[in-house]
């Protein structure tokens, strides 16, 4: 791979959020892996430095094997507040996560309904403000609304995580224009979160200027999760390189790549 001439932040650099630099621009969601061994392999293959986890009621006799797997992999843990419908519940869940994982980082999710799992903007912003006040490093899962992203930035969030399409839907990036606008209009790292179905979706996110992507289901529920982990890593890296390289503008008509000058006259 040749070195590109590009500004800082391009190329094979890490992803920096709140002063912490991760070795990969791919954050892996741990949800959906049928076996912990597969999760461990996927972590290794992606080269990710951070994975998400959730909290649920303990089952008696349950072992802490997930935490041990993540420990062995040497990855940072990003707890989520999945399943919360109110700011109050999300804040409590983040506080539980702080005690459980000894981290003040949180992927803030406040959803509005069970069917789409789309964020509830009002509750999300309220929770973000409260958690920032409480000293958390807040990474909110948000809609693809550039104005909401700005509001979350103003609230003191450490990154914004707009969705491409609903969680687990695999529909990719439904509104690339909005994702590009979010990148344009906030100073924060933009991590595309949710909706990625395959490699090209991850590449598109990076080509749009996203600083990273979070992928769970597309890898964990693929027919061969480890092979898909490898593919999506390649997509993230390729997309980032392409963004740094600067794509050609789209044109309505063709533009010859071969000069017309010196064409022989073969008509007579």
């Amino acid at each position: 791979m040749s070195e590109m001439e590009a500004g800082p932040g391009f190329g094979e650099d890490g992803l920096t959020i709140a002063g912490r630099t991760l070795p990969s621009r791919l954050i892996l969601g741990t949800g959906g892996f049928a076996r912990l061994e597969t999760l461990a392999e996927a972590i290794e293959v992606t080269g990710t430095g951070m994975v998400t986890v959730a909290l649920r009621r303990i089952e008696v006799g349950a072992r802490g094997s997930l935490v041990e797997v993540l420990d062995r992999a040497g990855v940072a843990v990003l707890p989520n507040t999945a399943g919360c419908y109110t700011a109050r519940d999300a804040v409590r869940t983040a506080q539980l996560a702080r005690e459980a994982f000894a981290t003040d980082w949180v992927k803030l999710e406040v959803i509005g309904d069970e069917q789409t799992l789309l964020p509830d903007a009002v509750e999300l912003l309220a929770a973000a403000e409260e958690l920032v006040e409480d000293g958390f490093v807040v990474l909110p899962y948000t809609t693809d609304d550039p104005n909401l992203a700005r509001r979350l930035e103003d609230a003191g969030c450490a990154a914004v995580m707009p969705l491409g399409s609903p969680i687990g839907s695999g529909m990719g990036i439904l509104n690339p224009y909005n994702i590009a606008l979010i990148r344009e209009r906030t100073e924060l790292p933009v991590i595309l979160d949710a909706g990625i179905g395959t490699t090209s979706d991850a590449a598109l996110a990076m080509e749009l200027g996203c600083d990273g992507v979070l992928v769970a289901s597309a890898i964990s529920r693929a027919h061969d999760p480890v092979a898909m982990a490898r593919a999506i890593r390649a997509g993230v890296e390729g997309g980032r390189l392409a963004f740094g390289a600067g794509r050609i503008p789209r044109r309505h008509y063709a533009r010859a790549s071969t000069t017309h000058e010196g064409m022989p006259d073969l008509s007579s």
Partner: protein, 65 residues
């Protein structure tokens, strides 16, 4: 009656959080506790006794996106 994760329990009033976690055979890490919705910092688990008629939530790390 102390309720644990929504269910009635035979946990005695005055039991500390550390003792409760031992009774539940909870893993050492990736666990957190709330009493009546208020999260109890890990450093207070040994000294916090659970009073009667309290709703206890004990959570642990699970896979999630």
């Amino acid at each position: 009656m102390i309720r644990v994760n929504g269910d009635p329990s035979d946990v005695a009033a005055g039991t500390t959080i550390v003792d409760l976690l031992a009774q539940l055979d909870a893993p050492d890490r990736g666990v957190a506790v709330a009493l009546d919705g208020e999260v109890v910092p890990r450093g207070q688990w040994a000294s916090t006794a659970i009073e009667d008629d309290v709703d206890v939530e004990v959570v642990m790390a699970v896979q999630g996106g």
